[in-house]
Structures are given as C-alpha cells and as structure tokens.
C-alpha cells in the first residue's frame, strides 16, 4: 500500500468526481501508449456493451510513462497525452470533440467514444 508522503503526493492527482452511490465495482487499468495500436478503443468498446447500468461500476485509467519519456516528449508520452484528452472528452458534458483530437480519430473510434458517452 502507498503510505504517507508518497500517498499524499498522489492525492493531488486523484479523481475529483463523486462516485455513484450504487458503484460496487472499480476497475483499474494501467495505460501506456495504447492509442496507435487501438487497444484502448477496443477496451472501451467492450464496456459499452455491458449488461448492467454504468452506475454499478467505474474504470480508473492510470496513464503512465517514464520520466525520460516526459522529459523528451517521446512518442509514448505524446500518445499518452492523446489518451488523456480522450478521457477529458468522456468526462465532459460537451458532445463535441476538440479539433485536435477529432483529427486523430477514425470514424470507428469516434463512434465508440459516442457510445461510451451515451452509456455514461
């Protein structure tokens, strides 16, 4: 378990949205450069097909890369920034994709994100 100072540091980056009262299952998913291989969209798609209400569960994506990747702004880091903007889009009440993000997505990927927003 993360304790004391390390725990306090990560509290700054924690999710601010209040969890649903009905939420029973939390799913933890580390994500590192999963944009160009399309895995993240396949993953999200499989959750748009769940048989239960989305109030029952939530998915916590942990977008990560090494400090060197961040320093050099490597392709891994850049992919992760796109994934973070996908996350912001999914969280927002706005149905319109930011122009930069829209250019990066295929129509299939846009469709998945739309379904994920509807499910939410």
């Amino acid at each position: 378990m993360i304790q004391s100072k390390e725990r306090e540091f990560h509290q700054n980056g924690l999710i601010v949205e209040t969890p649903s009262k009905e939420m029973k299952l939390s799913i933890i998913v580390p994500v590192c450069a999963e944009f160009s291989n399309g895995y993240i969209f396949r993953f999200i798609e499989s959750f748009t097909k769940q048989s239960v209400s989305s109030n029952l569960y939530e998915i916590i994506f942990l977008v990560n890369n090494s400090p060197e990747d961040a320093l050099l702004k490597s392709t891994v880091y850049q992919e992760n920034q796109i994934i973070l903007s996908v996350g912001q889009y999914l969280k927002s009440d706005n149905d319109f994709l930011a122009e930069d993000l829209e250019k990066q997505l295929s129509s299939y990927q846009k469709d998945i994100l739309k379904k994920a927003k509807e499910k939410k």
Binding site: E34, N37, V52, V63
Partner: protein
C-alpha cells in the same frame, strides 16, 4: 483518468496498480461501500464479455468469497503456427493448474486481469506489491493464501498474445510456469527431506 505521465516519478507496474487501488479504496470510502467494494485489475489490451460486471457482482453477492480468480483466454491476432502452439500449451497448462489448485485449495498464481477482490482482501495482503514484474503472481498467491477465494471459469476475459523481444507472451509465461513448477517440486522435496 489519472495522469501519471508528467509527474517525473519513476514507477513500476506494481506501484501504478497500487495507486489505482488506493484511489478505488478512497472512492469506496466515499460512497459507503468501504471494505465491501470490489476492485478488478485489467490491462488495456484485455477484452471482457458483456456480462463481465454483472457476473462479478453476482458472484460476490451470492457467497462469502473475498477474492475471485477469472478465466484468462488468449486470442491470436495474426496467424502463426508457433504462436498458436505456445498459446494453446499455455492455456492448457494454466487452466489445468488452476483447476487443480482450486480442487486442492492451494495457492494460485495468475495474471492481473484474472484478479478481482474486495477492498478488505487487498488490505489483508497489504495492497499490490511494488514490483516491476510478477506483481500479479505475488498478489494472487497472497490473496489465495490469506483470503476466502474462488476460481470462476464461467467469467472469461480475453487478451491478445503480444510479441516481445524474448518471444510471445504466452511462450514466456509457459517457460516461467515450467521453471516455477520445477522450483516448487525441488522445494517440496527439500522440505520433505
């Protein structure tokens, strides 16, 4: 989403999962579920069936279990005879091993996406080990040692077989599995002696 990409701190996979676990624990504290909240570990290349959430929640509602181990299946994205062979062998060995372990009520070692447990169970084992590799094997071993667990073959998750420098994932895992079996046999022989 939690942004761990820009904080400039080196983290291994065990630490990353543990940050997520701590976040889930906080959120279950906030919504009143507390130690009864359920936490599943998945990877981004994993796929789940449409009744994944429903089946997991029902399993925990129906019985007194604290930990659930799911059934991992590899799917192959590209045709390759060697890949098919290693995937099949790995799948067979793992499923047989899990079935036997459950039958004998001995410790289980599985991959992260197969692990689902209540918050209370994670607390009992001290969270997720901060390891670069095999954090999932060590975690599942501890969970099966300390908590009330069940292997549920009815809940299937799917992952692609990834090609790495040392070979395909399933081949590496198969070799590791064999090594651990030999080690286990050696250890039990030594302890018997």
């Amino acid at each position: 989403m939690i942004d761990l990409s820009t904080d400039g701190i080196e983290k291994n996979i065990g630490m990353i999962r543990d940050i997520g676990l701590n976040e889930a624990i906080e959120r279950f504290k906030n919504n009143g579920q507390g130690d009864e909240g359920i936490v599943a570990l998945l990877d981004a290349d994993t796929l789940v069936e449409p009744r994944y959430v429903e089946k997991i929640v029902n399993q925990f509602l129906r019985s007194e279990i604290e930990t659930l181990f799911l059934n991992l299946n590899y799917f192959i994205l590209e045709g390759d005879e060697n890949l098919f062979s290693s995937t099949f062998q790995y799948q067979y060995q793992v499923e047989f091993g899990q079935w036997l372990n459950t039958l004998l009520n001995t410790q289980i070692e599985v991959g992260a996406p197969q692990i689902v447990a209540k918050v209370g169970a994670y607390k009992k084992v001290g969270g997720i080990p901060h390891l670069e590799i095999s954090e999932d094997f060590q975690l599942s071993f501890s969970l099966s040692e300390i908590t009330n667990f069940k292997f549920c073959s009815d809940i299937r998750i799917y992952t692609s077989d990834r090609a790495r420098k040392q070979g395909y994932d399933s081949r590496i895992r198969l070799e590791n599995l064999k090594k651990r079996k030999y080690l286990y046999l050696l250890q039990s022989r030594r302890s018997k002696a």
